[in-house]
Symmetry: C2
Subunit: 150 residues, 2 copies
DNA sequence: CTTATTATCTCGTTAGGCGAGATACTCGGT
DNA sequence: ACCGAGTATCTCGCCTAACGAGATAATAAG
């Protein structure tokens, strides 16, 4: 296993640096609001699903975050205790617990991630179509490579 | 706090998807080798420093990972117990403990991250200079935006 | 040579997450 | 209508990563 040093390695390191900074951004948001990294991931997943107009159940949330049922219950307990979400029994299937995100929690999330997204969009607007296509293709490639890698 | 839906949002979601998959890749490597996410981060940091021909001390490692001294000691304990690193007292300043990475641990790291890096380099080779420059600029911009964001 | 600083480690505690199992509800077959 | 299988969530007990406070040891400054 050699030690690649070609010009492409700079991009590899940039990719890692960006990933690390994004993780730190989440971690800062978490500790500033008395939350844990997992809580933030949960909030993002909940906002995503809500944006898509779908419902998020406790079990689905746990699967998305890679938690078992006990951990999921503890997670939802924390979020509910902090007032970020509400548990609502699904009247159709009363085994299911639908997680509803509180509007203030959504606002909180946007206040931290909104500017970052805004800045990213601005960055993209500085590139022409072919350049944006390259960025999109590269990111999709990295995502697939990471997902595939045994 | 609106709900951006412009064409740039696809790239924002791709960026997040790539970040998530990269994190999952690390997590899989960790659990496959009986390690924890923090141990993997530590190994990467150690390999980086080693590649740069510098020394990594216990304290510096802890700072890099955002751990306090107690957590750092526990981390190095785990890595040493697993045979991934060795503690070596610095003869110049005998308070300092230099962490040396075992060659087998380096090989282990490369076996998991090497193919991913390889694939990323291949991806980049499919783009011309201007496209690679766009990818590089975009990643640097994202890194800076995440680092700056309060 | 005494005091401050730096580097690491020890001890006790906190809390996130796991495994196993309990509980509650739905659904298919008879 | 009933019984068992399957599904969704929760409770209990445990493990351990990481923290805070403080001990120990070595170097550096006055």
């Amino acid at each position: 296993m050699p030690n690649p040093q070609g010009p492409e390695m700079e991009v590899v390191h940039l990719l890692r640096a960006a990933t690390v900074e994004l993780a730190l951004h989440s971690a800062r948001f978490a500790s500033r609001n008395g939350m844990h990294p997992t809580d933030v991931r949960a909030l993002i997943a909940l906002m995503d699903v809500s944006r898509a107009g779908e419902e998020m159940t406790a079990g689905r949330l746990g699967t998305a975050l890679g938690l078992n049922s006990a951990g999921t219950t503890a997670l939802v307990d924390r979020l509910e205790r902090a007032g970020h979400v509400r548990r609502v029994r699904d009247p159709r299937d009363r085994r299911r617990v639908v997680i509803e995100v509180d509007e203030r929690a959504v606002g909180l999330g946007w206040s931290s991630f909104g500017p970052l997204i805004q800045r990213t969009v601005e960055l993209l607007q500085g590139y022409d179509e072919r350049e944006v296509a390259a960025i999109r293709g590269f990111l999709a490639g990295v995502r697939d490579a990471a997902a595939a890698g045994g």
